[in-house]
């Protein structure tokens, strides 16, 4: 990681690396801070450290410094002290970067290096990094990565010093790390508003010259809703990337209409499996040729009993506290898919299946149907416990301004009338916002 910062620092140290409404950090600034952290880590012989800073300009030097000396850094999500305390205990962290008075007694904050502190001449062979999953299906897990593998994915990125990427993910998320690696490899600029909600994202896009944006479909839906509300027109984005959740064709079409000059890419990636590359044909799902690649391919896929399985040599080493996984082994992704013609279409997650009187219902196709109903800004389909059938399909809806709930309720019922009886929403409620974690809709809970 630090080598990417150094590469830009060597030719243009004053190039903006991180931009916020409050200021700019250059590649030279970040590299100097990273070297200072690397010296401090070496001097204190720290092998593992938690990063509790939430600002990109603080997190990036921590990552780069740790990667320089082989310290396993783990970026924590923005969280209340109680959750930080829980994570420190769960992942056995006794040192931290940034810290706060609430947790300093549990994890010692990294100090500045002494004047005599030096760096080892070589970068170590093993350079671990720990990513926490977003915990959409429960408690976060630690996913062990290695910088050498992570950097392999950006070896062929072309320089693009004029590009400005919005940081819509946290760098603690694997997707955010991917954006950071791409930006640093291209020598581009990261625009990092705080907080990272779509409203602040839209403001940053408009005011800080964002040209590229990678985000979840949920983030994009909220962003489109925010744009409709503020009436400010479509910003001139040149690159739109979606990933992290299933991507409906209707959303791709909408984005194509709103941002006619942007290239649209879909990424299939996960903390555990790494990235399998991107699809740019504008159609929902993956092309069938991702299945059955050559033995030498770093990533291969297959469909087993309706679930996508992957073999990845670019993914994780293993989970925290567990043995390393076999890079040549096949593992289930948890994504339910259906092969339709020459496409692999996503139907939902195994953890999201709703059991309605013994009939297994996938929420995603229903959600896509409801999302297309006029007046629906955002929706979430999930299972609701029922004393009669075990569960029923329920939908929460955020209305667009100017629409009446009774009209939208009738329209939703009409739109879903052709679905099998068990799949029709039996509970329709109108809410101010839907539950998300890491800008992903949570469908597994009631």
């Amino acid at each position: 990681m630090i080598e990417l910062l150094r590469r830009v620092r060597d030719v243009d140290p004053d190039r903006p690396a991180v931009v916020t409404h409050d200021g700019t950090a250059t590649y030279g600034d970040l590299h100097a801070a990273a070297e200072s952290i690397a010296r401090a880590l070496t001097e204190s012989a720290i092998s593992r450290i938690a990063v509790t800073d939430v600002e990109a300009a603080g997190v990036i030097p921590a990552l780069a410094g740790a990667s320089r000396v082989g310290t396993e850094a783990c970026i924590y999500p923005p969280a209340e002290p109680a959750e930080i305390t829980d994570l420190l205990a769960r992942f056995d962290h006794h040192d931290c970067i940034a810290g706060s008075p609430d947790v300093d007694h549990l994890a010692k904050p990294l100090g500045a290096p002494s004047e005599n502190a030096s760096l080892p001449s070589d970068t170590p062979e093993e350079r671990p990094h720990l990513v926490l999953t977003t915990g959409t299906t429960g408690t976060p897990r630690g996913v062990r990565h290695d910088w050498n593998r992570l950097l392999r994915g950006v070896e062929r990125v072309e320089p693009a010093p004029e590009d400005r990427w919005l940081l819509a993910y946290g760098i603690h998320q694997f997707a955010g790390l991917q954006v950071l690696l791409h930006v640093a490899a291209a020598g581009s600029t990261l625009v990092a508003p705080t907080p990272r909600r779509p409203r602040e994202g839209l403001r940053a896009i408009r005011e800080l010259g964002v040209t590229h944006l990678s985000a979840t479909p949920t983030y994009w839906r909220f962003l489109l809703a925010e744009m409709q509300s503020d009436g400010g027109g479509s910003p001139p984005l040149r690159q739109i990337t979606l990933g992290g959740e299933a991507i409906p064709g209707t959303l791709l079409e909408k984005l194509g209409q709103v941002f006619p000059d942007a290239r649209i890419s879909q990424v299939y990636a996960a903390s555990e499996f790494g990235s399998s590359g991107s699809v740019r044909d504008g159609q929902a799902g993956l092309p069938i040729d991702v299945i059955g690649r050559d033995e030498d391919a770093p990533v291969d896929m297959k469909v087993v009993d309706g679930q996508l399985w992957m073999r990845s040599r670019t993914g994780m080493l293993g989970y925290y506290g567990e043995e390393s996984v076999d890079a040549d082994g096949w593992r289930p992704t948890g994504d339910l898919v259906e092969v339709v013609g020459d496409r692999i279409l996503f139907r939902g997650r195994t953890s999201e299946v709703i059991n309605v009187g013994g009939v297994k219902i996938h929420p995603l196709p229903i959600e896509n149907l409801v999302a297309g109903v006029p007046g629906v800004a955002i929706c979430r389909v999930h299972g609701r416990p029922s004393p009669v059938t075990g569960s029923i399909v329920a939908v929460e809806v955020v209305l667009l301004p100017g629409h009446a709930d009774a009209d939208v309720r009738s329209a939703i019922r009409a739109a879903c009338s052709e679905l099998p009886a068990a799949a029709r929403p039996r509970s329709i409620t109108f809410v101010d916002s839907v539950t998300t974690i890491g800008n992903k809709v949570i469908r597994s809970t009631s």
């Binding site: 309605v356 009187g357 609701r384 029922s386 004393p387 009669v388 059938t389 029923i392 329920a394 019922r413 009886a421 068990a422 029709r424 039996r426 509970s427 409620t429």
Partner: protein, 84 residues
């Protein structure tokens, strides 16, 4: 919304109207299942959810299986009596 008899009747009537199963004569004797308006299990589950949304609880979730409109009304009237 209170759980007065009128309010509960209105919610049930609205639901039966929505699923196009409202009887010509709507009163407590209306049977909900096969030999009455013919709610199936999914429609019953839906009615249960709607009643819970309006009144905070419903007879099905409480373990009852009311077979007539009147039995649903009695569930809420007993609750109202116990609360007062």
């Amino acid at each position: 919304m209170t759980n007065s008899t009128t309010d509960v009747e209105n919610v049930i009537r609205e639901y039966l109207t929505m699923v196009e199963k409202v009887p010509e004569t709507f009163d407590g004797d209306v049977k909900l299942f096969a030999d009455g308006v013919g709610l199936d299990s999914l429609e019953t589950a839906e009615l249960s959810a709607i009643l819970e949304d309006h009144f905070g609880n419903d007879p099905y979730s409480a373990g009852d299986t009311p077979e007539t409109v009147g039995e649903i009304l009695r569930f809420y009237s007993v609750q109202g009596a116990e609360a007062s």
